[in-house]
Symmetry: C2
Subunit: 249 residues, 2 copies
Amino acid sequence: MTQTREDFETRLRQIGAERYHDLHPFHDLLHGGNCTPDQVRAWVINRYYYQHSIPMKDAAFMSRVTDPALRRAWRSRIEDHDGTDDNEGGIKRWLRLARAVGLDPDYVASCEGVLPATKFAVDAYVRYVREKTLLEAVSASLTELFAPKIHANRIQGLLKNYAFADDSSLSYFKNRLKEAPKDVAFGLAWVLDHADTREKQDAAAAALTFKTDVLWSQLDALHSAYVTPARIPPGAWVPGDGLALQKAS
Amino acid sequence: MTQTREDFETRLRQIGAERYHDLHPFHDLLHGGNCTPDQVRAWVINRYYYQHSIPMKDAAFMSRVTDPALRRAWRSRIEDHDGTDDNEGGIKRWLRLARAVGLDPDYVASCEGVLPATKFAVDAYVRYVREKTLLEAVSASLTELFAPKIHANRIQGLLKNYAFADDSSLSYFKNRLKEAPKDVAFGLAWVLDHADTREKQDAAAAALTFKTDVLWSQLDALHSAYVTPARIPPGAWVPGDGLALQKAS
């Protein structure tokens, strides 16, 4: 039976409560100041691959939308990441964080050394949005419902625990605190409006679950590769590689 | 500069020597008899997802081949996995292994409980073959160059160390010992013939490297989820689930 709008929203939020990656132990390490500098670097390198793929994901979505109004509403997501004349954009802000933790931003931007498992998970998300229904694509984006809390915790935890953390290096997260709620308010309303049968509600919930798997897998890969007992896969970033030149001087 | 046929083949074999998943510690545990029954089950459940995807990968390849002779040569791979009137096929043989380790074959065949990271890696392989050049697709299959050794070690190690191991439960691997060399002899000759520029040789080597990442990532995910300290991702198989009915009686 089709769920009421309220019950369906509760169901979506419950997926986050049970499966969002704020529950992953790597975030406890990171936010509690218990990551080594190299573990922070590994996180910055791998998470960059996700950041840099998101505008491609959004373009893949827009490439399938026939309604100009929906495309127009969605476009700001690409602007937020890629930048505009007035806004450097999230990708550049992420590279500022890379520099702050001692990495060469060009190395990070090259995506060399990214864990294969990170690529498989993130690429799976881009392809999901390219291949599934628009409803599933929008539903998968709703992990942003759960992002403001983790970003607030992260800003607080990083500022408290790491010398590299300041307004400049953390500007990515500060901006996301403003951007994500706007995006997700639109996305949530769109999903609640369009998931008007039980079948569509189930598909939307499965899409959001899929996306939590995408995020969780990235932290699992990071934890497995770089947290004791570390097991770095062949070809992935090895501590000491890709450092900013300033470090050598 | 274009490599000689011999140098190029050496280069491909070197990729296996450095990156093939026989180097992963999970295989030491498995072949040395140090996996718990539940760790063996987790391996059987997740590796099934790979097995069951391979014929789809091969069909994706054939769907892009215009040469009937190449399609005809390739078709036996699908027959080897899906079966013929005279041959039950590798997928059924794998489910025999599932039954032998105490799992419900229907549960394993459902692919419920497969680690998301396994799905992301395997799906990446199927899509790779669907999207890249034929040369890259054939090159990616050349990990079978390195498979006979691991299958021989596995048969020996499992027979020696586990009560479930016998001719019936291990028939998958015994058959692969016959099938893989035939496939790979064809594939290797095809790649050596068609990679006739340095650019194509580099692409072929990158494709084989990609495939080693696909295999390695699956074992990393398995190790991370089920080997101490185990960290099972949300929704993945939990020991005790999916056991064969015979176990409850």
